[in-house]
Amino acid sequence: MTDPDPESALDARPGLQKRTVYEMGTAPVSAEVGAAVFDVEHVDVRYGGNLAVRDISLRIPKGEITALIGPSGCGKSTLLRCLNRMNDLIDGASVEGSIFYHGENIYAPEVDPAEVRRRIGMVFQKPNPFAISIYDNVAFGPRLHGLKKGLDDRVEKALRQAALWDEVKDKLNDSGLALSGGQQQRLCIARAVALEPDVILMDEPASALDPISTLAIEDLMRQLRGHFSIVIVTHNMQQAARVSDRTAFFTVDMQKGIRVGELVEYDRTETIFTNAGDERTEAYITGRFG
């Protein structure tokens, strides 16, 4: 158990029962960060009754890049999918606790998950463009939500933001599948960006890519930082260190032979990487574990 670093307003709070008291429905404001985009509070996730992650609490700041790291199976993807209710689509998945998005609990019964996902975009591990043209891929989201005015401009802007415009501007009618893996992943980022979401969730977006495409995606994330809040899951320590502002380290707890994911530590990335408060974090980062 680590004492929250007074420097950091975003404390990892595993097991911390006493919480900042604030009124429901108002965005908790942190002195240092300004606003949080997510407030995750005591979240447990189960798959078919089996606990997968336990009691996760953390605040994710607005406009920054937050990295989730940790060994395989510790629940990074699980937590990420909770943030835009993609877990609803998995049979038998259930979420307890609350996740406040700008102060609104997205798990409240009156919330429409489709509206949540529209504002909180997602980029998947494996590039998954549709088997339609590049243009139609990017236009898919806007068309879905009736944003048909200025569609061409919107598509161009999204492709520029995804640093793909120059490569595809002459072949917008070609199939999205006719691109290289790295280009496809940037197309998927453009597709997410075209909806002008507030947050983009990325689950190991570069794990299927070569080093050059990986760097391109990282560059892209740095450029998108500020416009969007980004939460990224990565297995690549250097990547987390290079791009993220905050890092949350998760681990697998093996009590009584049951594997449950837990949040160990959450802090500024430089603190996590240079001066981790928990020895498990340090061991993982330096490669002695995981």
């Binding site: 489709a114 996902r117 998947f124 998954n128 088997a131 879905l144 199939s175 599948l177 597709r191 997410a192």
Partner: protein, 335 residues
């Protein structure tokens, strides 16, 4: 370095086939070649002999007249052609009943497939799919009897009368729904045909839809699509070529279906614009008259059969072209 076994010097004959390997492959190749050829041979003989039998009828009546006029007066001669053989009424009956069938079966199949794939509780899915497929195992004469004795009086006739009553007086399209509504007609045959072709269309549509990659479905949900939008914009769009192909297969079935149609389509050797006209189909006409037909009329019936075969082949080819064209347009979304 000896491993305990004596290394025999290499003998060039080692490389030659020994034992059964020497004759098994060539023998099997010959057998399968013969099987392949015999299928072609049977098909060739069938086409050849029926066309030969039909040719005099086509010549006597005139090819165009055979396919476009609708006066059918069976002759009774043993060795010459004396009747009038215009098969249009039967061609029309075949086409219109099949068209009605596909127009009813296609939306139904799509709905059933979507339901099985996406909406039904997981536990029911296999049972449901299996049940639909079971429909294909019902003999067609049973469909005919059931259609005649229960489905028609209980459902189809009231529906027909309702449609005819409401739409029969509308200008232009009213002609299609004009009464009177006899107990057997195109519409009734088409509806029962629809149930008969539902299993094959559903089976294929379901299979094609199930092949939609999960990650594309996730992508759409991730952008805020609703269940219905995912079905429409991802699953259906991607499955479209397959569904077109499935409908064409269903259409092919409907065109050739004989007994059930013969029992339900009406039986008059005439045709009418109204879907409630009691007409006849090509297969139905052959089945219901060949037993009492004089030799010249048997030839004329064979000519009708040849015509049906040609139509079915055309529909199948159209299906292939359509699937191929749509497949190219839809990128890799083809089957």
């Amino acid at each position: 370095m000896s491993l305990g076994t004596e290394q025999r010097p290499f003998d060039p004959t080692d490389l030659r086939a020994t034992g059964s390997a020497r004759w098994a492959d060539p023998l099997f190749r010959t057998i399968s070649f013969a099987a392949g050829i015999s299928v072609l041979l049977v098909l060739g003989l069938m086409i050849g002999s029926t066309t030969l039998d039909a040719l005099p009828v086509f010549q006597y009546q005139g090819l165009v007249s055979f396919f476009t006029t609708s006066e059918w007066n069976a002759g009774s001669s043993r060795n010459e052609l004396t009747g009038t053989y215009g098969a249009f009424a039967f061609i029309y009956g075949t086409l219109i009943s099949s068209l009605i069938a596909i127009m009813i079966a296609l939306p139904l199949s799509i709905a059933v497939s979507l339901y099985i794939n996406r909406i039904a509780p997981k536990r029911f899915r296999t049972t449901l799919a299996y049940t639909v497929e079971l429909l294909a195992a019902v003999p067609s004469v049973v469909y005919g009897l059931w259609g005649l004795l229960s489905f028609t009086p209980a459902v189809l006739l009231p529906v027909s009368r309702f449609l005819s009553g409401y739409l029969g007086d509308v200008p232009v399209i009213g002609r299609i729904f004009e009464g009177p509504v006899p107990n057997t007609n195109y519409f009734i045959a088409g509806n029962v045909l629809a149930i008969m072709i539902l299993p094959i269309i559903t089976a294929i549509a379901r299979e094609v839809m199930a092949q939609t990659p999960a990650d594309q479905i996730d992508a759409a949900y991730g952008m805020g699509a609703t269940d219905w939008e995912v079905m429409r914009k991802v699953i259906l769009r991607r499955s479209f070529p397959g569904i077109v192909g499935a409908s064409m297969l269903g259409l092919g079935r409907a065109l050739g279906e004989t007994i059930a149609v013969a029992m339900l389509i009406g039986g008059q050797q005439r045709w009418g614009i109204s879907i409630f006209f009691a007409g006849q189909s090509m297969a139905g006409h052959i089945a219901s008259t060949f037993q009492d037909a004089a030799p010249e009329t048997v030839n004329a019936l064979i000519a009708v059969g040849v015509g049906l075969f040609v139509i079915t082949v055309i529909v199948n080819m159209l299906a292939r072209v359509l699937v191929w064209r749509i497949g190219r347009v839809a990128g890799d979304a083809a089957l």
